[in-house]
Symmetry: C2
Subunit: 135 residues, 2 copies
């Protein structure tokens, strides 16, 4: 397994705490939530097996995958496998989750788009049954 | 010299043509200029010695440096040396340029912020005298 425990390129930041993540993840904010740029940006590092809960963004979000292997899934669709160099363009209000593969670290940049539309809406966790069915 | 001639992580894209760049550079658009995300994003790969002209963004811009060594300079200030993992937060209407070091490839992601404020304003080239004074 490639060791990305110190993240990749951008800083690892602080442990993500709370009920919206399962497993270990870290976040460094690269552009703050409130700034003249109106464009919150961060780097997220997921340990193997870590993922976030189902959620949606009222203004959409962009993911730029920089390292490792992981998953992105929209509700009602198959999960998409992600690798370095992949870009995910998440439309507004689409329910989805993202995270690492079971056997790989996973690192992505996120860019919150149209932040004036409001904050992320968090929902239920991805079940172990759903997650464990992924290779 | 580290060979980044095929870019790094994200696609290299097409040669940048026109008078606003000196030397060889390539751009891949990751999120288009016009989209529901209102957030144009691209990957730019500069060959050693390549740089853009002085310019400003009416809504600002963010640069995420992914590989190589280069420079960012705001008018009236010393040039800042850039490496992988550096982030440049360019305020609106600040005249600046960016590009590779003389002896290194340089790759960054750019994110256009507040694009509703209008397009980039291009100005004069960085003179050889100014550029060649940088190490």
């Amino acid at each position: 397994m490639i060791d990305l425990s110190n993240s990749f390129i951008f800083p690892k930041g602080d442990k993500v705490e709370g009920e919206n993540f399962k497993g270990e993840a870290w976040q460094e904010r690269l552009v703050p939530m409130q700034s003249e740029w109106n464009c919150p940006i961060g780097n997220v590092t997921f340990a193997p097996g870590a993922r976030n809960s189902w959620h949606s963004h009222p203004g959409g979000q962009i993911l730029l995958i920089t390292a490792g292997r992981g998953w992105y899934q929209e509700e009602g669709k198959p999960a998409q496998e992600l690798h370095a160099g992949d870009i995910v363009r998440i439309p507004a209000n689409v329910k989805h989750w993202h995270g690492a593969a079971k056997d790989s670290w996973f690192v992505h940049i996120y860019i919150v788009t149209n932040p004036q539309n409001g904050p992320c809406r968090w929902m239920e966790p991805v079940s172990d049954e759903e997650y464990n069915s992924l290779l």
